[in-house]
Amino acid sequence: MTGNGQHNTALRWGDSVRWFDARRRGLGMWAFALNRITGVLLMIYLLVHFVNISVLYLGETAWNQLMDLFRMPPFLIFDVALVLVLLYHGLNGIRLVILALDIGVAQQKRIFWGLMAFGTVVAVFTAFGLFRG
């Protein structure tokens, strides 16, 4: 049964999506689950973005109307949320690359919080920039 060196536990669908469940787990597991969740959100945003840039094809009037819509506060809040998601995914990604080069593995939690602190500062500046402009 196990003579071929495999873990012969039958895989169930639930096991395959368990990466989502970081409850009672460590910081690294949360970082990984959030990385994937933000990744999926960004994929959805990219597809929506492709639709909205397609409005360029419809010409000047249609595009400018859409941009007037995007300047309204609900969309600015969306922009801030987008920046937060991008910052998380990007900064955690940098952490993963640093770790893959075997740098600071023992300090992975500090690296995480350091990058998140940097991200918070960038997010605050971006939010001010968006609402002021």
Binding site: H7, R18, R25, L27, A100
Partner: protein
């Protein structure tokens, strides 16, 4: 002063579907261990409960199980650290291994893989070089907790797993006559180093600071550098292609 704790113990015998949880109320002191509670259940409440244990001091790795969803060596897990008076403890076998019965899993898949990567724990000579360089992995007690905690292991029963990958890194770092080419090959496989999602759960639960996550990162660095070298026809991966 004894606490009253409800143990909800995973019960399963081979082929039984579905498995279920049995509740046992146990009088236990806060500075006793989870394994003490399980032994008491077996001694006074249910002689059919099966579980593995041996040394009672965290050196054999037999009593590894999940306590409230997290991998623990039950012999050194104190009641006061995982529950409270009148509280509940959910006790389950390790994940990602075939269940033999109740809390007992078949850990042989992990041992087979340890063999595949040169079984660096069993050594014919003492460590070479500075001891501090070689301390970490030698502390592995093969309890299987890292394999249970690993989220990647949950998604693929082909994944080599943290214990064996850490062993592979150890063997490559100091081969002692083992032919490391097959180990490079195993490590570079689609179900090995590249599959790790860097969740650090293996290191989080490791009872002996074996740092399997760190070993996987070291292996990943080696492989990235070798891949880049191979673009210029150099290094072990380029030579491997030729022969």
């Amino acid at each position: 002063m004894a606490w009253q704790v409800q143990f909800r113990v995973f019960r399963s015998s081979r082929g039984e579907v579905p498995a279920h949880f049995d509740p046992f109320t146990v009088e236990i002191k806060p500075d006793e261990t989870v394994l003490d509670g399980i032994e008491r259940i077996w001694a006074f409440q249910d002689r059919t409960l099966t579980f593995r244990h041996a040394c009672h001091h965290a050196s054999c790795g037999s009593c590894a199980m999940r306590v409230n969803g997290v991998e623990k060596l039950s012999c050194v897990t104190y009641i006061q650290d995982v529950t409270s008076d009148g509280g509940t403890l959910v006790v389950e076998p390790l994940r990602n291994f075939p269940i033999v019965s109740d809390l007992v899993v078949d850990v042989s898949p992990m041992f087979h893989r340890m063999h595949e990567v040169g079984m660096p724990i069993i050594r014919s000579a003492e460590p070479l070089g500075k001891p501090e360089n070689f301390n970490c992995f030698e502390n592995c007690i093969e309890c299987g907790m890292c394999v249970s905690a690993c989220p990647v292991m949950l998604t693929s029963n082909q994944y080599l797993g943290p214990a064996a990958l850490a062993a592979a890194q150890r063997t490559i770092a100091e081969p002692r006559g083992v032919d490391v080419r097959s180990i490079w090959q195993l490590a570079d496989d689609e179900n090995s180093v590249w599959r790790c999602h860097t969740a650090f759960e293996c290191g989080e639960v490791c009872p002996s600071n074996g740092d399997p996550a760190g070993a996987i990162m070291a292996l990943r660095r080696r492989l990235i550098l070798e891949r880049i070298k191979s673009l210029f026809g150099r290094g072990i991966l380029a030579r491997q292609r030729g022969g």
